[in-house]
């Protein structure tokens, strides 16, 4: 069942057919979401009522398009801000972790490494409630002892950022470590021999080498934050990020507006992914 071994023709045909079916299964849900964004109807379902762009640009009720719907635009902005914060924080800590695990042999390293991996195997909703519980404990404690009202420790965007950061950092660490492992340390030593101090050597030699991984980890972190649902659900306050805002609307009943937002999301994330791949190829 590899090209060099003769395989019965029937088996090959069945196998290829199966893989083709698999891809239909992968694409189908996304295709219908995209197509119904252009249906001139109140509901994202058949029959087809004709082509329209109202769900993107419409100005009047009942067909207010994405670009004129304040709450959705606001939610997109919220998600973007949260995503940017999570990306910056997790890449910074991830880079530091990568250096720590690659460059230093110390007691407890193995234990710390396993601990660092753990957030990946904790269900997102549990991460969310544990952070919610702890921050409330701290906030209540502050209020009882010092009468300080720590608003940022109540459900809201700060907690959402912290919650997402808590597991996305693991992924950033793994991505950046993988590249740091491939780095030839003698390059850094050469810089030291040529009179650079340690910090300069790292800044001018190692960090540029790591750049593709750093950018990659940042984009992945941003996308993961943008589409995170479980952890965010438990920590969200009054400003809802996009996934939560869309979820609330979906519960009330769906209109093609949601299809239009989804289509924009698909375009946005595939664009980001493609840029990332192009960037990775170039360097």
């Amino acid at each position: 069942m590899i090209p060099t071994i003769p395989t019965p023709r029937a088996l090959r045909v069945i196998w290829t057919g199966y893989v083709a079916l698999f891809f239909v299964y992968l694409v189908l849900p996304l295709a219908v979401v995209a197509v119904f964004a252009f249906n001139d109807s109140q509901f994202p379902s058949l029959p087809w009522q004709g082509f329209t762009l109202d769900w993107f640009f419409g100005k009047t009720a009942p067909k207010i398009g994405v670009f004129h719907e304040r709450s959705i635009l606001g939610a997109i902005a919220t998600s973007a801000i949260v995503g940017a914060c999570v990306a910056v924080l997790s890449v910074a800590v991830g880079t530091s972790n990568a250096f720590l695990f690659n460059r230093y042999k110390f007691r407890g390293r193995g234990v710390l490494y396993v601990l660092m991996l753990l957030p990946l195997v904790v269900p997102g909703i549990v991460l969310g409630i544990s952070i919610l519980v702890f921050s409330s404990t701290v906030a209540n404690g502050l209020w009882d002892t010092a009468k300080i009202d720590a608003v940022f420790l109540r459900p809201g965007l700060v907690l959402v950022v912290l919650g997402q950061f808590s597991f996305i950092t693991t992924i950033a660490t793994l991505v950046i470590s993988a590249r740091l492992q491939k780095f030839d340390q003698s390059l850094e030593e050469a810089a030291l021999n040529l009179g650079a101090n340690r910090l300069t050597a790292v800044r001018t030699i190692t960090i540029p080498f790591l750049m593709p991984a750093i950018v990659g980890a940042g984009v992945v972190a941003f996308l993961m934050s943008f589409e995170n649902f479980n952890t965010t659900l438990m920590l969200v306050g009054s400003d809802a990020p996009l996934t939560i805002a869309m979820f609330d609307r979906l519960k009330e009943g769906s209109t093609p507006l949601l299809n239009a937002v989804s289509l924009l999301l698909m375009l946005g994330s595939s664009l980001l992914a493609l840029t990332l791949i192009a960037f990775q190829k170039r360097s």
């Binding site: 069942m1 196998w15 979401v33 530091s96 110390f106 952070i131 950061f165 659900l233 996934t243 994330s269």
Partner: protein, 285 residues
């Protein structure tokens, strides 16, 4: 030099320790303490295991818990069965450009949020949905069929959502299997099936394990898919956590639920690693 290396070490260690203690360890300890607390009066609490007793004695909670676990295991197995032939095809049966295109195609749907994917299934499966209309149009059924709001719909959604996390590790491990080893298997008289069973599958075990761990955990902790695609009777354990925390405001019981979920997922992951002789570092790192 030694002093500055030591300073660098401490500076690099700080963010890691802050992150792990403040956002992972202490919150989980705090959640455990909360779950071990019982409210006895206004503002008065006692340490007790009352919340866990409630979970164990209330049939609805236990049933939901077991149902969620069993369905997650089932979803993991189905994902593995569907993904394995596809991964093998990508890793071993196609070459060159077609191969990287197929692999990329597998990834692309998952750059889109889970909410959008679930929404897609709702459009397909509901009574007025695309599949129902198609079946009526083709004359296979006479009236609208409702395919949403049942366990099969949940299963479809879970398998779809988790597919990527199975395909990627499988393709990676199958890729590392040298073709010459498979050829040797055939030379020694193996049939297609015996080569698969005795060479390919044993080699793919690390990939199978890491895929299964992630898929199982994602299914167990999923909230969106069961809520949107499931019916009134198909309650998921995460929905109970949500309702205790946000709707009923009974955080003590909610924390106990959370801990049970964490325990169940950790136990199954541990058992899976033990059975196959793998470690977390090897499968995740």
């Amino acid at each position: 030099m030694a002093a500055s290396a030591r300073l660098g070490f401490i500076l690099l260690l700080m963010p890691l320790l802050l992150w792990l203690t403040l956002l992972i360890i202490i919150p989980h300890v705090d959640m455990l303490m909360l779950s071990l607390r019982e409210r006895v009066g206004v503002g008065e609490y006692e340490t007790s295991i009352a919340n866990y007793k409630t979970v164990l004695t209330e049939p609805l909670y236990m049933r939901t818990f077991m149902r969620t676990a069993v369905m997650s295991i089932l979803a993991t197995l189905i994902t593995l069965l569907i993904a394995f032939p596809v991964s093998y095809y990508i890793a071993k049966m196609v070459r060159g450009r077609a191969r990287s295109v197929l692999f990329l195609l597998c990834l692309i749907p998952f750059w889109v949020s889970e909410l959008v994917r679930t929404f897609g299934w709702m459009i397909l499966l509901r009574e007025t949905g695309v599949i129902s209309q198609f079946l009526q149009w083709s004359g296979l059924v006479s009236g609208p069929v409702e395919m949403l709001y049942n366990d099969a719909a949940i299963m479809t959604g879970l398998v779809y959502t988790s597919m990527l996390f199975m395909v990627v590790p499988l393709v990676t491990t199958l890729d590392s299997l040298d073709d010459a080893v498979i050829e040797a298997g055939y030379d020694l008289g193996g049939s297609g099936w015996s080569v698969m069973r005795e060479i390919v599958i044993p080699h793919a075990v690390p990939g199978i394990v890491s895929g299964c761990i992630v898929v199982f955990m994602l299914s167990l902790g999923n909230y969106l898919t069961p809520t949107m695609l499931g019916g009134k009777d198909s309650l998921w354990f995460t929905e109970m956590i949500y309702s205790q925390f946000i709707v009923r405001f009974n955080w003590e019981l909610g924390a106990a639920f959370g801990f049970m979920l964490l325990f169940a997922s950790s136990f199954i992951i541990w058992a899976m690693l033990r059975l196959t002789g793998q470690t977390l570092e090897r499968t995740m790192g």
